[in-house]
Structures are given as structure tokens and as C-alpha cells.
Amino acid sequence: MTNVITVSGLSKSFGRTRALDGLNLQVRAGEVHGFLGPNGAGKSTTIRVLLGLLRADSGTVRLLGGDPWKDAVELHRRLAYVPGDVTLWPNLSGGEVIDLLGRLRGGLDPRRRAELIERFELDPRKKGRAYSKGNRQKVALVAALASDAELLLLDEPTSGLDPLMEAVFTDCVREVKEQGRTVLLSSHILAEVEKLCDRVSIIRDGRTVETGTLDELRHLTRTSITAELASPVNGLAGVHDLRVDGSRVSFQVDTDRLDEVLKHLSASGVRSLTSRPPTLEELFMRHYRDESLAGAR
């Protein structure tokens, strides 16, 4: 499978602030790639480098086979972008902005435009200054989704959307994926990423800390187990957050020790057992926790 985006060792500083510090990112053709990180981790900066709006200090960046800084115009014919904070021209209507951006990208399908406006329940006649944040976001989303771009760069695209509109957005991205197009979706909303993404890169402080499919990442984390036992269990080694309440135990276990711990449990006679795979939430929290530990040090 070919890579649509290949970033390695990307660094970018603004004055003394180091926004990106050796970031790596690989996005394969046809996948929806989740780009996760807390606020200020460098997600938007990375996307702006990919758009050729910012120039990389060091590292290599390839986008659709080109150099995003040098070949910006050629590459922009093939991608569509939704900024994280959409600002519109106060005296242009939403419909005008959608058409303008579409025409700049080389035209958009009027049927798809009308359908998307309908699905997102957007009033295209309102002027830019009259839209709420969510509606401004919808204007940019309609413009991007109505295009034929083979790559969509979406920077926290659902911020400001209500849950109903989020569902519409999720459907739209799935359709885009079915058409074989590639999506880079930056977000800090984990449920959204879990629902949509094939692979995920987690970044923190301008560096990639994890990357892989959701399944691969789950291997790195712990499974939650609650069990009702016939007799008290002794010496549960290598488990975390152990809580014993009479015959009930609950704990978390590292995936590579799961087998060993289950054997230990069955020795005590298991009456009931529930196990829950790790959510991305827990994965994410672990990275946050590491960060706060690192900060405390």
C-alpha cells in the first residue's frame, strides 16, 4: 500500500517555542487516519506544514508524492482542507464561500453541494458574520466534502457541531472512505476517532508517541477484568488497580500477562467473569498521565 503522507523527523519552531520536535507520520492511501493529541501538541502546525503554509525547519515531508512547500499549488488541486477554527468573510454568504472555495479547487458537483447543505441543515444565505461557530464549521465541511479531492485534511472538524451533526459528519467520512479517498482527521474526541479511523497516530509535545491500528495500540495497554471467585485469590502479581471485595475482584492487566493471570484466577474457581478491552480513552489517558508524571519530575 502506498503512503499518501510521509513525514519523518519534522521539526518546526516559532521563535523559542518548539512546536514540532521530530514528528513522524505515515498515512496510507485510502485510509482514515486519526491524528490524536491534546491541545497544543502540534496537530494544526503539522497540517499547516502539509499544506505548505509553514515551512519545515528540518525533516522530510512528502504529500501525494510531492513536496508540500515547493509543489503547493499542484498538490492543492488534489486535496481539500477544513481548518480547526473557521473564519468567514463577514459580508459573504455561506453559499458564496462554498462556491468560491469549490471553484478555486477546480469546481464542485452542484448535486452533492445541495445534498450536503440539506444533510447538514445549513442556511447558505446567511452572511459570514451571522453564523455560529458550528455553522461556520459546516460551511467549510460542505465545501470540502463536495469536492472531488483525493485527500481530505480535517483539523478538528467537528468542534462546534451538535451530536446530530456529528453523526452526519461520521456518515459523510465513511462515504468518502468507500470512494477510496484518504482522510487525515485530527481530533481530541476519542469516540469519533474510534468510530472512523483505521489507524491512529498519537502525538504529544510535537512528537509521535504511538502509531498503529487501534488493535495494535490496544496491545500496548491493559484489559479491565472483574471476576466473581469461589475462593479468595492469593498473589495476583503484575496486575494494576486491584480491588478485592469479598469474593469479587477487579483489576487491570497488561495484555502480555493476560494469559498467566487468567490461569491464576481459574485456579481459584471462576463463577463469573467480565472483561473489557481497553478503550482509546484509557490509552489516551495513559499518555496524559505519563505527561503529567514527566511534568512533576
Binding site: L53, L54, H76, P83, V86, T87, N91, G95
Partner: protein, 525 residues
């Protein structure tokens, strides 16, 4: 009133550089001009002759009002007759910046959710601008009282303070009318411009009552250093109070962020023409370009009429005509007037050019350039789309100015065929200097984007060089920095080729540097 003082501190914090700057500059301008005149014309005889020749010229009356007395202080205040207009401009912009502009951006909403009375925003903006007006008045009072009679100094100070207070109230009322700050600014500036034109009309015609309708004329109606009259100050107070009452009444009846004039819906689809960066730039610039063009068309008519009045007044005054004949004749005199007017207007049009260029920076920092530059539109095309307006827009404004001024002037003197092409040419001859200003702004935008707004400082410096350079005896090397210094004085002067070619070349180089710089730098995030 709750929270007003906290907001006053916020305003002072946000404007901590610009506010003291204009307060001090406007406060010191009158005494500077007075000292300059006192230095140039020594003794009663010279001052009397200067006063008589100035008052005999209705063109100067149109620009600055009547000369009230021959003493240096009265003449200095007369010569600075335009400064109260600048004070009015500064206060009304300040009021709108801290009221309507805050509401438009939604910051008012954030503050409004705290312990703050409904009117705290308006009140705090009025407190700051009223205080600033009073400080300007105090500076005028103190600087004049040191050398001249204190009664006159007090009348002069009250005149400046009064103008500031009235136009702060004008700004407060305009801020209630529209949802967007730009519209409010337009309304308030139109009122200020109308007041200035009304004063000019009243002072140069028989309908002198017209001037009484204009707050811009009231400082002179207090007759500082010319037998002071105090009661016109009551006019300032009464008008400001009435305008403020209206503003508070409207503010109390409307929703936060709503205007009195309702917003309209736009088209659901874009017109076929709105299809590229150039179409968008035209859409963004057309309103202000139209306003500038119309404004200068009106100014051209007014100044053309003033030049005509000057001609006929001089024709009646035999002794003055003889004196002028020795200086090159009456037509040379009115040419000088037209040239002086065009010189000032050229700098004003540069203001338009700088604003058009800096629109790019505003688009960039508001993140509105980003989605465009993420399309196949190139950076050069995007920059060029704004620069076309900044380069050709001033040409359109100056052409319309030249046409209206030349036509009025030509019709009055009965010789359109001669005067129209001369005046039109002279007006367009300002362009190379205007382009240099546009190019300075572009270069700053491309190379030192954070300092882009410094283009306004450059423009202000050139304006000061032109207006005060000779009076302040600035060294020639400094005056030569201004492109306007190098323009031949037209009509009447010798239209040399070299300065135009050199200025255009400088502008071209700076423009290219700006575009090149922007191609290579990061887009602001």
C-alpha cells in the same frame, strides 16, 4: 455603572501606546503652529500683512475658516483649523473600537457574562474619550497660557475639548446603528466629513448660519485670542448630552450584538463571476473603494468652488491683485492653491492605498487567507489580487478627484478646456508617491509582517514632513525621505520626468520585495 471602571482600565491597557500618542500630538500641534508663525512673522506689521493676505483668500477660508485676529496665537489656531477634525476622528474611532467592534467579535459577550452593567462598555469608552479630549484641552490651555493671555488659552482649550467630546458622542450613537464596526465607522466619519464641509460652505458663502450647524466650526466661534465668547461651549455640552442620551436609549432597547439596521440575507449561491482570488479581492475592496471615490468626488467639487471663490475675490481686490501679479499673477495663485490641495489629498489617498495593502495582513491574521492558500490559488496570485486594488484603486480615486476638481474649477473660470486636463494631470501625478507608500506597506507585509502596521507610522511621518517640515525647519535630508517632497508642484510647476520615473521604480522594487518575501515566509497561524 457597575464594572465601568474595570473596563476603563482595560481600554487604557489596550490603548496604552496609541492613546497617549494622539492626545499629546494633537495637544501640541496648535502651539507648534503658533510658534512657527510667530517665528516667521515678527512684529505687528508683518503679522497684520500675513493675516490680511490669508483672510483675503477664500480658499484658505474654506480649508481653515476665517482669520479672526492678527496676533500670532489667533493665526496659529487658524492655521491649525483642521486639527479639531483630527481630534474628532481619533475619538470616534476609539469609541467604536471599544464598543461595536468588541460586540462584533464576541468579546463583549464574554465580558457581559461577568458582573457588568448593560451600559458599562459604552460608559467606559465615553469616559476614556471624554478624559482624552479634556487632556488635549488642558495641554492646549497650558501651552498657550505660558506665552499668551490666559483667557484665549482657555477658550482654545475648551474648543478642542468640546470637539472631542461631541464626536465621541457621535461615535457612541453610530455604534448603536449597525451590526458591524465598519458600517458604524463609515456613518460616524461621514458625519464628521459633513460637518467639515458644512463649515467650509458656511464660511465661504453668504449663508454663514451653515457654520453654526457644524460642531467643527464652534471652536472658532469661541474666538480664542480674538475677544473670547464663552457661550458656544454650551453648544458642545448640549449636543454631546443629546447624542449620548440617544445612544444610551438605543443601547437599552437593543440586544447585545444586534444593530438597529437589520442584517440582510445573502445569495444562496455565488454569482458565476466569484470564481478566483481576484474576484474575491474585488468583492472585499469594492465598498471602501466606492466610498473613497465618492468622497473625493465631493471634495473635488468643494475645493474647485473654493478655488473659484479665491479667483473672484482676488479680482475684486485691486491692491491684492497688483501684489499677486508681482508673484506670478492671480491664476498662478489659484494654481498654487490647487497644487496645495492636491498635495494634501495625495497623502490622504496614500492612506487608502496603505489600508488596501494591509487588508492582506488582516485577512492573514484572521485566518481567512489560510483556506484560500490551501486551494490551488498561488500566494503570488492572492497577493496580486489585493495589490491590483492597492495600485489601481488610488488611480481611480485621483482620477475622479481630478475630474471633479478640474470641472468645477474650469466651469467657474469659464475655461474647462484648459483647466480640466491640467488639473486631472496634476491629480494623477500624485500616483507615483502614493504607490511608494503602498509598496512600503507591501514590503513590510512580506518581509516584516509583524511590523506591517508601521506603514501607518511612515505615512504619518510623511504627512508631518509636508505640513510642518518647513515650519519646524527640519533638515532637507529628512524631508527628502518623503516621496511627496520630490513631486513637482502641479499645476503650475514644471512636470519633470525623472522624479516620477525614480519613484515608480522604487515602488516597483519594494512591491516585488514584498511579494517575494511573502512567498518565502510562513503564513501567520
Amino acid at each position: 455603572m457597575t464594572g465601568s471602571w474595570a473596563l476603563v482600565r482595560l481600554i487604557l491597557r489596550r490603548d496604552r501606546f496609541i492613546l497617549p500618542l494622539w492626545v499629546v500630538v494633537f495637544g501640541l500641534l496648535p502651539i507648534t503652529q503658533t510658534s512657527a508663525i510667530a517665528g516667521l512673522y515678527t512684529g505687528e506689521a508683518e503679522l497684520r500683512r500675513f493675516a490680511a493676505s490669508m483672510d483675503a483668500n477664500p480658499a484658505f477660508t474654506a480649508l481653515y475658516g476665517h482669520v479672526l485676529d492678527w496676533n500670532a496665537a489667533a493665526l496659529g489656531l487658524w492655521r491649525g483649523g483642521f486639527t479639531p477634525v483630527l481630534v474628532g476622528l481619533a475619538v470616534l474611532l476609539t469609541v467604536i473600537r471599544h464598543t461595536r467592534a468588541e460586540e462584533e467579535t464576541g468579546r463583549r459577550e464574554l465580558l457581559g457574562s461577568t458582573v457588568l452593567s448593560r451600559h458599562a462598555g459604552l460608559t467606559s469608552a465615553l469616559i476614556v474619550t471624554t478624559a482624552a479630549s479634556l487632556v488635549i484641552g488642558l495641554i492646549v490651555l497650558a501651552t498657550f497660557a505660558a506665552e499668551y493671555p490666559v483667557e484665549g488659552a482657555l477658550a482654545a482649550g475648551l474648543g478642542y475639548a468640546g470637539t472631542g467630546i461631541v464626536f465621541a458622542a457621535v461615535g457612541a450613537l453610530a455604534a448603536q446603528l449597525t451590526e458591524n464596526a465598519g458600517g458604524a465607522r463609515g456613518i460616524a466619519i461621514a458625519v464628521l466629513g459633513g460637518a467639515y464641509l458644512l463649515r467650509g460652505a458656511g464660511d465661504t458663502t453668504d449663508a454663514s448660519w451653515l457654520s453654526w450647524l457644524s460642531p467643527v466650526a464652534w471652536p472658532q466661534r469661541m474666538r480664542p485670542f480674538a475677544g473670547e465668547t464663552w457661550w458656544p461651549f454650551a453648544l458642545f455640552v448640549a449636543l454631546a448630552a443629546a447624542l449620548c442620551c440617544a445612544a444610551y436609549l438605543l443601547a437599552g432597547r437593543r440586544d447585545v450584538a444586534a444593530g438597529l439596521l437589520p442584517p440582510r440575507l445573502g445569495p444562496a449561491t455565488a454569482a458565476p463571476a466569484l470564481a478566483g482570488p481576484f474576484a474575491l479581492a474585488w468583492r472585499l475592496h469594492r465598498g471602501s473603494l466606492l466610498a473613497w471615490t465618492l468622497g473625493f468626488a465631493v471634495l473635488g467639487v468643494v475645493m474647485g468652488a473654493a478655488a473659484n471663490a479665491a479667483m473672484s475675490a482676488m479680482a475684486e481686490n485691486k491692491r491684492l491683485l497688483d501684489m499677486l501679479a508681482r508673484l506670478g499673477g492671480a491664476s498662478a495663485q489659484s494654481d498654487m492653491f490647487v497644487a496645495a490641495v492636491l498635495g494634501i489629498f495625495g497623502i490622504a489617498v496614500s492612506g487608502y492605498a496603505v489600508q488596501a495593502v494591509l487588508r492582506m495582513r488582516a485577512e492573514e491574521t484572521a485566518q481567512r487567507a489560510e483556506p484560500l492558500l490551501a486551494t490551488p490559488a498561488t500566494r503570488v496570485a492572492w497577493t496580486a489580487s489585493h495589490l491590483v486594488v492597492a495600485v489601481l484603486g488610488p488611480a481611480a480615486v485621483l482620477a475622479v478627484l481630478g475630474l471633479s476638481l478640474g470641472l468645477t474649477y474650469g466651469l467657474g473660470s469659464g475655461d474647462v478646456g484648459t483647466h480640466l486636463p491640467r488639473v486631472l494631470g496634476a491629480s494623477l501625478a500624485q500616483l507615483p508617491a502614493v504607490w511608494v507608500l503602498a509598496a512600503v506597506a507591501t514590503a513590510l507585509f512580506g518581509v516584516l509582517p509583524r511590523l506591517a502596521a508601521a506603514a501607518w507610522g511612515v505615512l504619518a511621518a510623511f504627512l508631518l514632513f509636508g505640513q510642518l517640515g518647513a515650519l519646524l525647519d527640519l533638515p532637507e535630508a529628512v524631508l527628502d525621505l518623503s516621496p511627496f517632497t520630490h513631486l513637482p508642484r502641479l499645476p503650475g510647476g514644471d512636470p519633470e520626468f525623472t522624479p516620477y520615473a525614480v519613484l515608480t521604480a522604487i515602488a516597483a522594487v519594494l512591491l516585488a520585495a514584498g511579494v517575494y518575501g511573502f512567498r518565502r515566509r510562513d503564513v501567520a497561524t
